[in-house]
Symmetry: C2
Subunit: 122 residues, 2 copies
């Protein structure tokens, strides 16, 4: 019988004899990739950020208007926009005093709309 991955904690129990864990391990997703994916999804894993992205699907909006639209404090909105900007999901354009935010990452936008449709038609 072939030896398993971690002989100390698991020799030959369970279905280890049938499942080629060594093979699976070799094709396993890396820690870096897994964390990268998680970070992206984490950015979409908050109702406030969902609303922000939804609002910006149509057109760019300034912080103040987003604040009014979501009925939330200006500071909270600003913090979340910075979060989204750090992940390149959103970009900004300054015009005098006001700053306009809009979606930057087209792929995220696709995933967003796709999931929205999924939830509506399920």
């Amino acid at each position: 019988m072939e030896k398993l991955l971690n002989p100390e904690s698991c020799d030959d129990t369970c279905t280890g004899t049938e499942t080629d864990l060594l093979g699976l391990k070799q094709t396993m997703i890396t820690e870096t990739t897994a964390s990268g994916m998680a970070d992206l999804f984490k950015a979409l894993g908050d109702p406030t950020r969902i609303k922000l992205i939804y609002a910006m699907l149509d057109k760019e909006l300034c912080v103040h208007d987003l604040s009014v639209l979501l009925e939330m404090g200006q500071s909270a909105i600003s913090h979340q926009l910075r979060y989204l900007r750090n992940l390149r999901i959103v970009k900004r354009r300054k015009a005098g005093k006001t700053v306009y935010y809009s979606l930057d990452d087209n792929h995220i936008e696709q995933i967003f709309v796709q999931t929205l449709q999924h939830l509506k038609h399920q």
Copy 2:
């Protein structure tokens, strides 16, 4: 000039005069929908759950093998699988002592693979 949403905090400042906030507000995503989307994405927003889903892309796996594959405690894996099961992302099949988990929601799987490809080819 038309009145804005929240006259107390914002009468006519910023770009409020140009942006039809009332119109935007009416087509805004609901709190329920936003929370629903956020919950789905939140489920994908953790490296451990990403690895679990990735591992199950090929075939069903039992808790023990997942535990060995991810090099994590059985309890942690079990907790996360319950999490994913509560959201119908994963389903289980009992066979004697062992329980096999596999992906349940095909749409989540699509989003997952799509995002994985995006990260690899960027």
